[in-house]
């Protein structure tokens, strides 16, 4: 379980085993940043190794650096191990999550509750 804080009020929580790989979070994040459909500016991206059915999410957060939410667990920090996968590289160049100013669109779009908010 990953928690991202906005001040002391809001928390973003990721439970990777609930992820179904639909990608809505990625596109919702891009929509918040640029008001267009694009996965390229998202602060949250799908990490997929499809041949082995291994997938989860990578989040660039302000407080914890790069957060890698993998099926077997999570790790955070700029040097998070396992973050060198192909999907993780470009996220280092992106803006960190700003929680959409208090109403995270990724959590709103997630159909399974994999991403949720607390607080």
């Amino acid at each position: 379980m990953i928690r991202q804080r906005a001040g002391d009020i809001l928390k973003l929580r990721i439970e990777p085993l609930k992820c179904i790989c639909c990608g809505l979070c990625e596109v919702a994040c891009g929509l918040n940043r640029d008001s267009v459909l694009t996965p390229m500016t998202s602060s949250i991206i799908l990490h997929i190794e499809d041949k082995s059915d291994y997938f989860g999410l990578v989040l660039k957060s302000k407080s914890e650096g790069l957060v890698v939410a993998r099926p077997e667990g999570t790790a955070s920090g700029q040097q998070a191990s396992g973050s060198s996968g192909p999907g993780a590289k470009p996220i280092l160049l992106r803006e960190p999550c700003d929680l959409c100013g208090g109403k995270p669109k990724c959590a709103k779009a997630c159909p399974t509750g994999c991403i949720s908010t607390e607080g």
Binding site: G23, G30, D50, K51, D53, G85
Partner: protein, 394 residues
């Protein structure tokens, strides 16, 4: 223009050169169905063209907006998973492929550009190796690869196009359409953007629809939520995770692990199993007495070779052979002239083929929308906030 890139790419393999034409707002509004646009483009560029394209709603927020298409005279193939989404983000709405390359290679599409990359190595590789190598050579694991295997290279009618690693979409022998053009694969990655007329309204309205669907459908159990044939003990015991296509809240894809414990969540084995969504292939496997494990291995062998599994199994039976993993492996390794079974997978979602074409042409998944109840007017109304004007007719 909203929901569209406004650009059609044309690649003449014989000349080795790309060109472009405008996909104007007027043209786009004439026909919202990607299938009819593809047919029109083929009429313009030559009936032997291959046309790859996306629907108006592909990549939008309406539920299951994952679908693209690949059209040829041979038939129509849905392009699902994340491939439809990625294709839309390449900067092209449609790609027309003409001619035949002098030497084997693949078409590489991204950032509004197309190039033909020669690949002498493909003649010795199966479809999985093609996907692996193209992703590795181009340095991005999210590249979508539509590939042929040895069966497509040999131009066999039972050849199956493989999407990344999985078969299931192509039931018309599209693999051989690529093979006859010396085209080992079509690879693409979407890094562009699509404008929406009313982004916030489209997002909010679509989420209401998704929530309503989730409430009505509950939690998906994967393929068994769509097909009772998968609701068997040996299938359930091998289930690792269920996997959705882009934008789908109720996935039909079940990944079964056969070479490691299905409960293993770490990435240990590189090729531990197979992603099932090919109903007619599994139906045939079970009818011929294969277990879920043997069916999984059989489909894996077929996908690597690029042969349609139902056709292969029928061919085995017709030749008087036993049907087992060894026989499937041996037959898959030797491309032959077996008949294409023309089995229907996503096509059978609706009893009415026109409804299938309507959903697919719009860019949404036929299997999902048959489950929830396809309603063109409803979809069009939710798409209107993204498109900026009324959508129709289907």
């Amino acid at each position: 223009m909203y929901l569209r890139n406004g650009k059609i790419g044309i690649f003449d393999l014989s000349a080795g050169e790309p060109s472009e034409q405008e996909f104007s707002e007027e043209l786009a509004k004439d026909d919202v169905s990607s299938i009819r646009v593809a047919e029109r483009l083929a009429a313009e560029h030559g009936e032997d063209s291959l046309v790859l394209g996306t629907g108006l709603l592909t990549a939008s927020f309406v539920p299951a907006a994952c679908a693209g298409i690949l059209w040829s005279r041979r038939g129509l193939v849905p392009i699902l998973g994340h491939a439809g989404f990625e294709l839309k983000m390449t900067g092209f709405d449609f790609i027309v492929v003409k001619g035949r390359a002098e030497r084997p290679g693949y078409l590489w599409i991204r950032d509004g550009m197309m190039e033909f990359v020669e690949s002498p190595w493909t003649s010795a590789s199966d479809s999985w190796k093609r996907t692996d190598k193209i992703r590795s050579d181009q340095g991005d694991g999210k590249i979508q690869v539509l590939s042929t295997g040895p069966w497509g290279d040999a131009g066999k009618q039972a050849a199956q196009l493989v999407v990344d690693y999985w078969g299931g979409e192509d039931k018309v022998g599209m693999g051989s359409e690529l093979g006859k053009r010396n085209l080992a694969a079509i690879a693409f990655r979407g890094m562009g953007e699509i404008e929406l007329a009313e982004p916030e309204k489209h997002f909010e309205d679509s989420l209401l629809l998704i929530r309503d669907h989730v409430f009505r459908l509950g939690k998906s159990e994967g393929l068994s939520s769509f097909w009772k044939g998968a609701d068997r003990d040996d299938f359930r015991k091998l289930l690792h995770r269920t996997v959705a296509c882009y934008g789908c809240p109720y996935p039909c894809r079940s990944y079964l692990k056969v070479f490691e414990d299905p409960r293993e969540m770490r990435m240990v084995e590189k090729e531990p199993g197979y992603l099932h969504y090919d109903v007619p292939a599994l139906e045939k496997c079970f009818a011929y007495g294969l277990s879920a494990s043997d069916a999984t291995i059989s489909l894996m062998k077929c996908a690597r070779a690029g042969v349609e599994p139902a056709s292969l199994l029928d061919g085995l039976l017709a030749s008087g052979s036993k049907v087992g993993i060894k026989e499937v492996e041996a037959a898959a390794a030797k491309p032959s002239d077996i008949k294409n079974a023309r089995a229907m997978n996503f096509e059978s979602s609706f009893s009415d083929i026109e409804q299938y074409r309507s959903t697919l042409g719009l860019g949404v998944c036929p299997r999902y929308w048959s489950k929830i109840g396809f309603n063109f007017e409803l979809l069009a109304s939710y798409g209107q906030s993204a498109y900026g004007s009324p959508i129709g007719p289907a």
